[in-house]
């Protein structure tokens, strides 16, 4: 574990690794998206209650899950940067925030698009919806803090503390539907013993989730590369890299 950290925690190695992996992940993402969309939009039967509009589930649910998942990645990377001073972890945490905010926004947007036919309004102040909005604020707050501090190291460390403190909200979002009886769908998919969703809908959903994951990984690597270059702009290897690309 620590060997790996040591090896790929070094910015230069991480940069090279990210460079080799990016195209692979890019292709996997594309393939998964095609499979998921074909499965979800064409093969899966329309829902007997909701008709075609249920198909938005293939965007909504993965992005809602991702919004929580990315936050956990961001907080863990932040913690690693804080405790073990792994520079790459800082770059990862920093790169996560805008993507997390984007997934959160997507979950909010698709949710309210879906809400219109389902509940008759775009928006209700229900617990899960509100806490998802709070999550968006957490991401925005993290990004605002990052941009307010110009010293990179300081920004990364301060952001990590904030992200860790905000972790308290994650279980609240997840369990809000159970703690309050609200309008929003209860656990339908994540009840693994007996998912209350038909298998022909479930499989494309899982594929889409994988697609989102792999999309996240791809973009993360691209962003992290940029962050590393910026972070290490005064080191010799980055200078050499620049000279090479200029030549």
């Amino acid at each position: 574990m620590f060997d790996i950290l040591d090896k790929y925690g070094a910015p230069k190695n991480a940069y090279t690794l990210a460079c080799t992996l990016t195209p692979w992940f890019g292709w996997i993402t594309a393939a998964l998206f095609v499979a998921g969309l074909v499965g979800g939009l064409i093969l899966a039967p329309p829902d007997y209650e909701q008709g075609e509009s249920f198909r938005i589930i293939y965007v909504h649910v993965p992005s809602a899950w991702m919004s929580l998942f990315v936050y956990m990645v961001m907080a863990s990377a932040g913690a690693m940067g804080l405790v073990w001073k792994v520079k790459v972890a800082d770059a990862i945490a920093r790169s996560c925030a805008p993507m997390g905010a984007w997934f959160t926004f997507l979950a909010l947007a698709t949710g309210s698009l879906w809400g219109k036919p389902m509940w008759g309004t775009w928006w209700v102040w229900d617990a899960r919806l509100t806490s998802e909005l709070i999550l968006l604020f957490l991401y925005l707050g993290y990004m605002a803090l990052q941009s307010a501090i110009d010293d990179r190291r300081m920004a990364a460390r301060a952001g990590a503390v904030l992200a860790l403190v905000g972790v308290v909200n994650i279980p609240i979002i997840h369990y809000s539907v159970e703690w309050w009886s609200t309008l929003h769908q209860g656990p339908t998919v994540s009840k693994f013993d007996a998912p209350s969703i038909h298998i022909s809908m479930l499989i494309p959903l899982l594929i889409m989730t994988l697609a989102f994951m792999s999309y996240f990984a791809t973009i993360l690597m691209v962003r992290v590369r940029g962050e590393i270059l910026d972070q290490e702009r005064n080191t010799s290897w980055v200078r050499k890299l620049c000279e090479k690309s200029e030549a």
């Binding site: 804080l82 617990a127 509100t130 806490s131 709070i134 604020f137 957490l138 925005l140 707050g141 605002a144 803090l145 307010a148 501090i149 300081m154 460390r157 301060a158 503390v161 904030l162 860790l164 403190v165 905000g166 308290v168 909200n169 609240i172």
Partner: protein, 227 residues
């Protein structure tokens, strides 16, 4: 010839902050008055209907408490940062976490505590029935220290940043949200004669969590922000 005990240092910082707060009486009264203004704005805006007011009283009071607390949080570290006192505190051989606890306690005594008492008065003005008063009081008594604790982390993270006060609000209000939701739910439950136990367990758990984690997080944040 020797370092005073941790208790004495705690007490000294507590007294220092209380004295600073009281010396400028404005500072002490301000969050309170801010609270008062927010609460009075409401009947003004909602109209004087008794039932409406009564029904919304818990929400209004709690929202006002959140705002008053978040706005007052800025003063916890800002002046210490600006005049260099914070450096001196960080260079103390005493446990910084403990010194910060003293600052948090002082902040609560100067803002949260009077606000809690004041809220009772205001809630009567908003026609809140008697059976909801105790839950309101209790929820504020648990909730406002959480605000001071969580807010101190935000205050430490944003200290010295330009526009820090507002950035701080942005950072901490989302963190206040669970407290707000559960407290209002508790008071509303009490209003409708339902049990409030679940909500208070949750609030209590949050307080314990905040008490154990926030001072460390604040100390760490201050160190980070200094250099």
């Amino acid at each position: 010839m020797s370092l005073v005990s941790n208790h004495q240092a705690f007490l000294a910082i507590l007294l220092r902050d209380l004295r600073l707060g009281l010396r400028h009486r404005g500072e002490l009264l301000n969050p309170l008055l801010f609270f008062l203004i927010v609460v009075t704005l409401f009947p003004l805006a909602l109209g004087p209907d008794k039932l409406t007011l009564q029904q919304h009283a818990p929400a209004v009071i709690w929202v006002a408490a959140v705002l008053a607390s978040s706005v007052s949080m800025d003063m916890m570290f800002r002046s210490d940062f600006e005049d260099g006192s914070l450096e001196q505190i960080l260079l103390s051989p005493h446990s910084v976490t403990m010194l910060i606890m003293a600052k948090i306690l002082a902040h609560w005594l100067l803002t949260g505590a009077p606000l809690t008492i004041f809220a009772l008065l205001l809630s009567i003005l908003l026609y809140l029935p008697v059976e909801a008063l105790l839950p309101l009081f209790m929820s504020l008594l648990i909730g406002t220290p959480i605000f001071s604790l969580v807010g101190s982390v935000g205050g430490a993270l944003t200290v010295g940043l330009r526009g820090g006060g507002m950035l701080l609000t942005l950072l901490i209000v989302p963190l206040y949200m669970p407290v707000l939701i559960f407290s209002v739910a508790a008071v509303n439950n009490a209003l409708h004669g339902m049990s409030v136990r679940g909500e208070f367990y949750f609030l209590g758990a949050l307080l314990v969590l905040a008490l154990t984690l926030a001072p460390f997080a604040t100390a760490a944040s201050l160190r980070i922000r200094m250099g």
